[in-house]
């Protein structure tokens, strides 16, 4: 089972701390020690819709529409999650269209300059960006500890099993007390 980060909407206060934590954990371009509108690219988005406020981000589907849709094989399964090999991404946006959660975005980032080139390259490179569970970050996803109300959780196999077990127990209790023939 792929791991994924999910938010308890009931705890979200819409403060956007997680968006910044995410953007800071994924600097765009080189030497970006400061965020700017050009390199601010969080992979989760706070959505306020009707009576719900919650961050929306990749569910790391086990049978992922984005993986199936990608024509260049840039989206793969790895580290119990869905990862993007940016060097293969052609920016076709098929994955954006395929994703049922709206969790994928395609952005243009400055491409690394050619070795030996005299000119600082202004070439842009497309990247399909999504939650990568902060795969390069030893402490795990940056958004989770940043949330002041602790609304974000990493769900892995064990957490999922525990949650299922809890629900099954609750269902059993409900049956025992409520069901009468």
């Amino acid at each position: 089972m792929n791991r994924f980060v999910i938010a308890e909407a009931s705890k979200c206060i819409g403060c956007r701390t997680c968006e910044i934590a995410c953007a800071m954990a994924h600097p765009v371009g080189k030497g970006a020690d400061m965020l700017s509108p050009q390199n601010f690219s969080p992979r989760l988005t706070i959505v306020r819709a009707g009576t719900i406020t919650t961050p929306i981000l990749c569910r790391q589907c086990d049978d992922a529409p984005c993986v199936r849709a990608c024509p260049s094989g840039a989206i793969i399964y790895g580290q119990d999650s869905v990862q993007v090999l940016q060097e293969r991404c052609v920016g076709c946006k098929t994955c954006v269209v395929a994703c049922p959660y709206g969790a994928m975005t395609v952005v243009s980032v400055p491409a690394a300059g050619q070795a030996g080139s005299m000119l600082v390259s202004q070439k842009m490179k497309s990247e399909a960006q999504k939650c990568d569970l902060c795969s390069d970050r030893a402490e795990g996803p940056a958004c989770i500890p940043s949330c002041p109300t602790k609304a974000l959780h990493l769900v892995d196999k064990e957490a999922m099993a525990a949650s299922l077990r809890k629900r099954q127990e609750q269902a059993a209790l409900n049956l025992a007390t409520n069901l009468q023939f």
């Binding site: 979200c12 956007r16 940043s146 002041p148």
Partner: protein, 716 residues
């Protein structure tokens, strides 16, 4: 890398932070395990420190003393001696020519700390000889202080931020905790999880409304009517605490008579609320074993504000929700140290420790301690009096300390017109601001992080901030209290302190409320809530023990008033009511957060006007398009945010934007007692702009020009 303990310089939640410091540079921030924040921070706490690196994203740091020899001329960098001589000689001349009350001063509710506010008011009272000193409490929780001082005898939160999660019912009134104090919002969530009932009174469907058991979307400007209706139901249905009312309160008969006609049916037209829902809400509040009322600017920034505060206080009183843990009245203070600035007496009517200036014995005590013959006994001018008193010719000089009135006061065109008449404007700040741009003298100060100090959080908690870094070598800056001391000496008064603790100890010696709050007790994560009368006293998390109130009679005063409508009416020309609100990632005039890369990137000019989709349709406004918003006083450009969480007929703008500055539109209409402006209501219209690319370009051009002007001025 070292970790230095400090307190967040933004809201009044009092979150403790560990600043990560490397080579005299702050490189990060992490939550420390403070009493109110329990290790958590919000976005401003985590990402609100890089203004210390002079990023110049919005406005440059002030690094050297500057003077302007002639109005309209350029600022000129000078030595400290020359700047002090220039400013003090002019201030002295104005004092001699027009008298001490021709000089206005401010305290600063921001990063500077309690010690420097104490020194600022001492400078006003002992050196200048005036009570003309005020702070931004005037434009924010002034009505809470004025109202609660009258009804209960103490203007602060009666109970602690920590207690919120253990109350059984929270009545949230005009208070958007999620945007104002995320870390307090967290306590409301925890209360809900522990089973508390939540009642939210707000015209907008704010985040807390999502977890409310009862949401009362009242019409803008109907607060008093709703509070009276609550009282009416409590009395009519016999839901009040008769024993508490009989023994610990006074004024019940007048109160009862005043609210008699305010049945929920009678007020329905004013509030727009279903009478049955109003009854259910107040039954829920009255039925809870413990209940807490929290309020914010939605109560205080109205022409009728003090009355509503007194009304809320009365709800807590007649239900017996005072004088024990997990209950009470909670005006949650906005700026990180606005509680502190008030505690320190940067108010025109109170000395440090809330001694009234009309109290002869207190005046004598302070005069003796400060070595002056007397302290003026007349209440001074408030911040919102300033434009008028200037235009009347009564104020000639304004010493603005750590505030930006040309951004934050209502009806900015009036403020600009008045300030142009002043003979002397002194600005003491860390950044170039709109006010600093027109100053005659600029005193550059050390920032939060560069000095040590004590802050007061919203629930009366004193906490220490340690110095994290030295100001960078090219910053010719001084601590605020040192600048005021230099000015004092130049004006012939011997004022000299070696460090902040000396000032703190002088203050403690003069104020019974703070006498026991030593630096030692506040060390590291220490938290001392006043009153703390002796050194072996642990501080006071909740007030009014034994149901004894700090009023002259020891009883809580019950109070209600007739509802008054907001001043301006919407009409065919200006069909929408504008309410000013705040941006979660920005703070005050934005000079600090606007220079923080993450916060500035998250939200930048020209800000938004939140419009209900139906209104937008009516006025042809598209989501995310640039629009003009105008009132009878001005016109600004901003971006439309179509939002079905706001009510029809009202629009909302955050006050942090310099281009989309909503205070160009607001009206200078004041509460008669606290003199707090009606920021929450004025009539406006919103107009679409056909040529959006012109509009985008206009915003960028104006913004770039403003930033370039600020940089140029600071480079003098």
């Amino acid at each position: 890398m070292k970790k230095v303990i400090t307190v967040c310089p933004y809201c009044g939640s009092g979150c403790k932070i560990n600043l990560l410091v490397k080579d005299n540079k702050v490189v990060g921030a992490e939550g420390a395990n403070g009493v109110t924040n329990q290790g958590e921070l919000c976005l401003k706490g985590y990402y609100g420190w890089d203004f210390l690196n002079d990023t110049k994203l919005l406005t440059p740091r002030l690094k050297q003393p500057m003077i302007r020899r002639q109005r309209g001329g350029d600022l000129e960098a000078v030595s400290w001696d020359e700047a002090i001589e220039f400013a003090s000689s002019r201030l002295k001349a104005i004092k001699e020519k027009y008298g001490p009350d021709s000089i206005m001063l401010t305290g600063s509710s921001r990063g500077t700390g309690n010690e420097s506010n104490y020194v600022a008011q001492k400078f006003a009272r002992a050196v200048i000889g005036t009570n003309n000193i005020d702070c931004c409490a005037r434009v924010c929780h002034g009505p809470s202080v004025a109202g609660l001082m009258t009804t209960l005898g103490n203007g602060a939160m009666s109970n602690s931020i920590c207690e919120i999660e253990d109350t059984k019912c929270i009545l949230v009134f005009g208070y958007n905790a999620a945007d104002s104090h995320p870390i307090v919002a967290r306590r409301i969530l925890k209360a809900k999880e522990k089973g508390a009932k939540i009642i939210v009174c707000d015209p907008r469907y704010i985040e807390t409304a999502r977890l409310a058991d009862i949401f009362l979307p009242l019409k803008n400007g109907s607060n008093m009517a709703l509070v009276n209706a609550f009282a009416n139901v409590l009395i009519q249905e016999g839901l009040f605490d008769k024993e508490f009312v009989a023994n610990y309160s006074e004024g019940f008969e007048e109160y009862k008579a005043m609210v008699a006609k305010y049945t929920p049916e009678y007020t329905a037209e004013i509030t727009g609320l279903d009478p049955e829902l109003v009854r259910q809400a107040i039954r829920m509040y009255a039925g809870a074993e413990t209940a807490t009322i929290l309020w914010g600017m939605g109560v205080t920034q109205w022409g009728q504000a003090v009355d509503v505060v007194k009304g809320l206080s009365s709800l807590a009183t007649i239900t017996g929700n005072l004088g024990k843990p997990n209950v009470g009245v909670g005006p949650v203070r906005g700026q990180n140290n606005v509680q502190g600035a008030c505690d320190m007496g940067t108010l025109p009517n109170t000395l440090p420790g809330y001694y009234y200036v009309t109290d002869a014995a207190a005046r004598e005590k302070f005069a003796k301690a400060w070595g002056v013959a007397s302290i003026p006994s007349e209440k001074g001018y408030g911040l919102t009096d300033v434009p008028h008193k200037i235009l009347e010719g009564k104020i000639k000089a304004n010493y603005v300390f750590g505030e930006d009135p040309l951004q934050t006061e209502p009806e900015l065109s009036l403020v600009r017109k008045a300030f142009a008449e002043l003979e002397l404007i002194i600005v003491q700040d860390i950044f170039m601001t709109k006010t600093a741009m027109i100053a005659d003298v600029i005193f550059p100060a050390t920032s939060w992080g560069e000095h040590e100090n004590v802050f007061s959080s919203a629930d009366r908690g004193f906490q220490r901030c340690y110095k994290a870094i030295d100001p960078p070598a090219d910053h010719n800056v001084k601590d605020d209290w040192e600048i005021h001391s230099m000015m004092a000496r130049a004006m012939g008064y011997p004022m000299k302190y070696n460090n902040a603790q000396e000032i703190w100890d002088e203050l403690r010696g003069l104020c019974d409320l703070y006498a026991g709050a030593t630096y030692e007790k506040m060390a590291d994560l220490g938290y001392v809530q006043w009153p703390c009368p002796t050194e072996d006293h642990p501080g006071t998390p909740w007030l009014y023990e034994g149901k004894k109130f700090d009023t002259p009679t020891g009883k809580a005063l019950l109070f209600a008033a007739e509802w008054r409508a907001p001043l301006e009416k919407v009409d065919a020309d200006y069909p929408l009511g504008l309410c000013t609100v705040r941006e979660v990632g920005h703070y005050s005039c934005r000079s600090m957060t606007g220079n923080c890369s993450a916060l500035q990137t998250l939200a930048d000019e020209p800000g938004f006007v939140q419009v209900h989709p139906e209104d937008a349709k009516k006025f042809g406004i598209k989501d995310q398009s640039l629009v003009w918003v105008s009132s009878r006083r001005g016109k600004v450009i901003t971006r439309a945010n179509l939002n079905n969480r706001v009510n029809q007929g009202a629009v909302y703008m955050t006050y942090q934007w310099w281009i989309g500055a909503c205070n160009e539109l607001t009206v200078d209409h004041l509460d008669p007692i606290s003199k707090t402006p009606e920021y929450k209501y004025c009539a406006v219209k919103v107009e679409a702009i056909a040529d959006q690319s012109w509009a985008e370009n206009y915003v960028q051009t104006e913004y770039s020009k403003m930033k370039a002007d600020m940089r140029k001025a600071a480079l003098a």
